[in-house]
Amino acid sequence: MRDAIADLVRDGDTVAIEGFTHLICFAAGHEIIRQGRRDLTLARLTPDLIYDQMIAAGVARKLIFSWLGNPGVGGLGAIRRRTEVATSARPGDPEGEGKLPRLELEEYSHFGMVGRYTAGAAGLPFYPIRSYFETDLPKANPLIREVQSPYGDGVVYAVPPLKPDVTIVHAQRADAAGNTQVWGLLGCQKEAAFAADRVIVVVEELVDEAVVRADPNRTIIPGLIVDAVVVEPFGAHPSYVQGAYDRDNQFYLDWDAITRDEEALQGWLREWVHDLDGRAAYVEKLGAERVAALKPGSAPSGSVDYGRYQ
C-alpha cells in the first residue's frame, strides 16, 4: 500500500475512493493521510467516514459529492465544521480569524455523479439525465446545465465528465494482473475506474488467474486499466465486504461523538492512523474478538456452467 500510494497519488490530484457503503477502502485513505498528501480534490458520491477523516487530516481542499453523512447514524462533523459559516471561512475573510479554512464543495445528485463518471469513462463531453428540473441545484452548481434535445423533443440536464487522476477500488479478489472481481453492491466503481487516469485495486485476496477465468461474469475491472494491486485484508473496515465481514456499526455509532469534537477527532487520527504503520497494525489493534464478531454466516451462490466449447 505504501508504494502504491507513493507512486500513484500526487499532491493536487483528484482522487476517487469509490464504493457505495460497501467496499470503501479506508486502508488507502489512511495511507494517504500518513504520507501527508495536500490539496487533493476528493470525489465520492457519499463522502462517508473516510473523507471526514481525510478532510480532518488536511489532505483536501475540495470535495465533489452527492450525499454528505454518516449513513444510518448522522452527520460528518469535520466536513460540517469546514463548511458552515460559524466555524469556517474563505481566505481573506475579515471575520475568518480562528476559523477553519473553508472546504470548496461541488455538489450533484447521485445520478449526476454516476453520469459524470460514465461520461468520463466513455469519452463523452457530458451525460444527460432527467433530474434537477425546478430545483435549486443548477443554481448552486453552474456546471449542471440545461440542454435541448437535438431531436426537438424537450430539455434534459447535462453533467460534465469526471475523470479522476486516481480511482481506488476495494474488492473481494483480483489476480496479479489486476483483473478484479466483485459481488454484492456494485455502486459505480466500474465507471469510476474506467474514467480514471490511474487505478489502484485493493483486495481481500489475491487469486490465481484461473479463478478469474472460471467466472468471467464477476469481473468488473480488467487488469488492462489497473496500475497497482494491493493485498490488504480487512482494508475496508469499518465498512464491509459482502461475504467476508459485516459493517462495524458500533464504529459508525462511535464516530458520531468523535467527529463532533475536533480535538477528539485529531486524537483518533493520531492513535489509529499516524501512530500505526499500516493496515496489519490497525487490524491487530482492533483485536481478534472484534474482527471475528464481524464475520457473517454463510450464504453461497449456486454455481453456473459456462460450458466448454472446443
Binding site: F20, H22, G72, G75, S131
Partner: protein, 259 residues
C-alpha cells in the same frame, strides 16, 4: 387494537407503512422511509418490491438494513444492479410506483429541502444534500414523505429546493410536468409524528387524519403556515400489537428510529 402504549415515532412509522398497501415497486429513501417500508413488506404489502439506490431490486432484508447500503439487502434479493442501471433503467425508465423520501424542511406544496439551512454559499447548517432524492422526486410515479413535524421542518419558505414537489401549486406543477415530460405526478402523502396529510386539488397539503392523542391545535402549533384541514378529519387507527412487535423486536430493537 392493541390498547398498548406506543410512541409518536412508532405511530408515524406504522401510519407510513400502511400507506403502501396495494403498491408494487417502492424506491426506499434514507432514514425513516427505510423502517416504514420494511414494516410494510412484513404487514400490508408482502409483495412490495424494495428498490435501494445502492443498486438492489427486490430486496428481502432479513434484518432492518443499518443503512440503505447494508449487505442484508443483497443476500436473497431478486437483482443486484450497478447504480447506473438502477437510476437509468429502473427509475428513469419509469418502473418505480412510489419514491419514499424523508426531508429536513418541507413547504405546503411538498417541495423538499435536504441541502442547507441558511444561505447555500455560507450555510448555518450543512445538511446531507440530494443523494438520489432529486431524481426520485421527478421520476417516481408518486412520492410519499415521512418526517417529524415542527415549525422548523414545516416551513412557509424552504431555504433550498433540493427535490421538487407541487412547485407553486397544482396548476404550476401540472403544466411544468407536462411541458417537461416528467414521469412523476408528485407528492401524494406526508406522514408525520402528528398527522397524515394528503394533497388537495390546489396542490397544497391538507390534514386528513390526526394520530391518537393529537389535537388540531397541536398540528397548527407545529406548522409554519395556516394548514388546511379536511372537513372529515379522521383519527389514525392505533398501531396493532403485531405492528408494535415487529418494530420493537424485529426491525428496531435498539430504538435507532423510535427512541
Amino acid at each position: 387494537m392493541s390498547g398498548a402504549a406506543f410512541s409518536k415515532s412508532e405511530m408515524m412509522i406504522v401510519a407510513a407503512a400502511r400507506e403502501l398497501a396495494g403498491q408494487r415497486v417502492c424506491f426506499v429513501g434514507v432514514g425513516l422511509p427505510n423502517i416504514a417500508v420494511n414494516l410494510a413488506q412484513r404487514t400490508v404489502a408482502p409483495e412490495l418490491e424494495l428498490v435501494y439506490e445502492a443498486g438492489v431490486f427486490g430486496a428481502r432484508p432479513a434484518r432492518l438494513p443499518l443503512s440503505i447500503g447494508d449487505p442484508t439487502i443483497v443476500t436473497g434479493a431478486t437483482a443486484v444492479t450497478s447504480m447506473y442501471e438502477l437510476f437509468s433503467f429502473y427509475l428513469q425508465g419509469g418502473l418505480i410506483d412510489v419514491g419514499f423520501l424523508g426531508a429536513a424542511q418541507i413547504d405546503r406544496f411538498g417541495n423538499i429541502n435536504t441541502t442547507v439551512i441558511g444561505d447555500y454559499a455560507d450555510p448555518a447548517t450543512r445538511l446531507p444534500g440530494s443523494g438520489g432524492a432529486c431524481e426520485i422526486a421527478i421520476n417516481a410515479r408518486q412520492v410519499f414523505v415521512i418526517m417529524r413535524q415542527s415549525r422548523r421542518s414545516f416551513v412557509d419558505q424552504i431555504d433550498f429546493r433540493t427535490s421538487a414537489g407541487n412547485l407553486g401549486g397544482a396548476a404550476d406543477s401540472e403544466r411544468i410536468r407536462r411541458e417537461q415530460g416528467w414521469i412523476g405526478r408528485g407528492p401524494s402523502v406526508v406522514v408525520t409524528d402528528l398527522a397524515i396529510w394528503h394533497f388537495d386539488e390546489s396542490g397544497e397539503m391538507r390534514v386528513d387524519s390526526l394520530h391518537p392523542g393529537v389535537s388540531i391545535d397541536d398540528v397548527r402549533a407545529a406548522t409554519g403556515w395556516q394548514p388546511r384541514v379536511s372537513a372529515e378529519l379522521a383519527t389514525t387507527p392505533e398501531p396493532t400489537a403485531d405492528e408494535l412487535r415487529l418494530i420493537r423486536e424485529e426491525l428496531d430493537p435498539g430504538g435507532a428510529y423510535t427512541g
